[in-house]
């Protein structure tokens, strides 16, 4: 994009936009905020933590008929056997971060011969993101990510990170478009100690209410779970059939609630 001129009539704040590595007079990092603005145009992704698993759900924005059906999702990725993530933002940026995350996880496994604890993985990735806000004059990554995973120290966990490199652990959270509406819905409906089946229902319910498309069909969203099966962590992406079943159940629930 165009560099701001050194013209005295230029707005005060724009002089500080062209470099990521300095603060504005109000103590803000504009490039980071602009990155978050980019993310607010991307498809919603949300996560819900349950006692026996984590749910990740995301609305897909690229649903043209002309698209060659992709085997992999543009929203959900496996990072290692025990960690998966959902992304919102610039897909190309997300690919870089996912690749880095996968390398971190394998290097940890190679060094310690055990899976990397989820928070550590998140923290390492966030350290990378932070570097782009302080060194190098490169723009930050235009991606927010939700991480769902399990490790033997802390069990099931859900984290969210943003372009600044900040991260937090959540019981339920969302990123992308309609973030405010989705968050307030999650705040209303989420209950502590919820089981995975209920978490799935909650995720679908919230997604249906806040999705951009008027009627949500299984091809317009991805939904995945991270659970423990026979003591091993299992990441499974629900099929379109299973997605449709959840949609039907959600519709019934709203119908009976309204009745």
């Amino acid at each position: 994009s165009e560099r701001p001129t050194r013209d005295a009539t230029a707005q005060m704040s724009r002089r500080y936009d062209s470099r990521t590595t300095i603060f504005s007079p109000e103590g803000r990092l504009y490039q980071v905020e602009y990155a978050m603005e980019a993310i607010s145009h991307a498809g919603t992704a949300l996560g819900v933590l349950a006692t026996d698993g984590v749910v990740l759900a995301a609305e897909k924005k690229m649903t043209s008929k002309l698209l060659e059906p992709a085997r992999s999702s543009e929203k959900m990725y496996m990072i290692d056997d025990h960690v998966a993530c959902a992304v919102a933002g610039i897909t190309a940026d997300a690919n870089i971060l996912i690749n880095q995350a996968r390398l971190h996880a394998q290097r940890y496994m190679y060094n310690y011969q055990e899976p990397q604890p989820v928070e550590q993985l998140v923290q390492r990735l966030c350290d990378e993101k932070q570097a782009y806000t302080q060194y190098g004059g490169l723009r930050p990554f235009g991606v927010s990510m939700l991480y769902a995973g399990w490790d033997k120290t802390h069990g099931f966990q859900l984290y969210q990170s943003d372009p600044s490199g900040n991260y937090n652990g959540w019981k339920a959270t969302c990123i992308g478009a309609n973030e405010k509406a989705t968050t307030s819905l999650l705040k209303q409906e989420y209950k502590d100690g919820v089981a995975l089946t209920d978490a799935l229902q909650l995720a679908i319910k919230v997604l249906t209410k806040t999705a951009d498309s008027t009627t949500l069909t299984p091809d317009k969203f991805d939904i995945a779970t991270v659970t423990l099966v026979d003591g091993k962590v299992k990441y499974s992406q629900l099929s379109e059939v299973q997605g449709q079943a959840l949609l039907d159940a959600a519709k019934e629930e709203t119908a009976s609630a309204d009745a």
């Binding site: 990072i79 290692d80 056997d81 996968r102 390398l103 394998q106 496994m109 190679y110 011969q113």
Partner: protein
């Protein structure tokens, strides 16, 4: 005359049968002439269709197995499919050659089923030079004894159970001629239906 490749002791034989492969290893872990362990794992399963056996220096065997897992996991995540046995074999070869001037002291044997379900065997030297065969492949401290037995007892197109018998006998008898390998053996038989692993007791000396 001590060679670093014979510091720990190992013996591996792999054979091709009718739509199946089998790979067997001994279980001795020694340090020169002292036996320190009798349950050492030398054959590793990478996925449903790929097995790799390693002989040579034990620490390099372990490190390489960990490096194989590293690359295998990344491949699986990025390509969203399992590595084929030919791809894996080439990966091992490249990995070894990368250390051309300071090599890993191992001699791997890769055994598996190709995407068409055909048996595949590949043996390599410590620099990664591959040798493909359609009958048997072996590596270890007493190759002469094992070669003799394999040449005599091997027949093509053996059914999985017969292949198991032949392979087990070749290995158990072969290691008896070598003081650095033995203490029982593990035989893995890989068919399109799955993997069967059997532990056998031989002369424990």
């Amino acid at each position: 005359m001590s060679s670093i490749m014979q510091y720990n002791g190992a013996a591996i034989i792999a054979m091709v049968g009718k739509d199946c492969v089998a790979i067997a290893s001994d279980k001795r872990f020694g340090i020169r002439n002292q036996t320190v362990g009798c349950e050492m794992k030398k054959v590793f399963q990478m996925n449903d269709k790929v097995l790799v056996g390693l002989t040579g220096l034990a620490s390099d065997m372990q490190t390489l197995e960990q490096k194989f897992r590293f690359k295998n996991n990344l491949y699986r995540l990025r390509e969203e499919r399992e590595m084929s046995v030919t791809a894996f074999s080439n990966m091992v070869s490249s990995l070894l050659y990368e250390s051309r001037f300071g090599p890993y002291f191992v001699e791997p044997v890769v055994a598996g089923l190709t995407e068409d379900g055909k048996p595949y065997l590949c043996g390599m030297d410590l620099l990664g030079a591959p040798v493909l065969t359609d009958d048997f492949m072996l590596a270890g401290d007493c190759p002469e004894a094992m070669f003799g037995l394999c040449e005599s007892l091997y027949q093509p197109n053996l059914e999985p159970d017969d292949l198991f018998e032949v392979l087990a006998q070749c290995l158990l008898s072969g290691v008896d001629r070598d003081c650095l390998s033995g203490w029982g053996c593990v035989v893995h038989v890989l068919t399109p239906q799955g993997l069967t692993t059997r532990h056998l007791k031989g002369r424990m000396d």
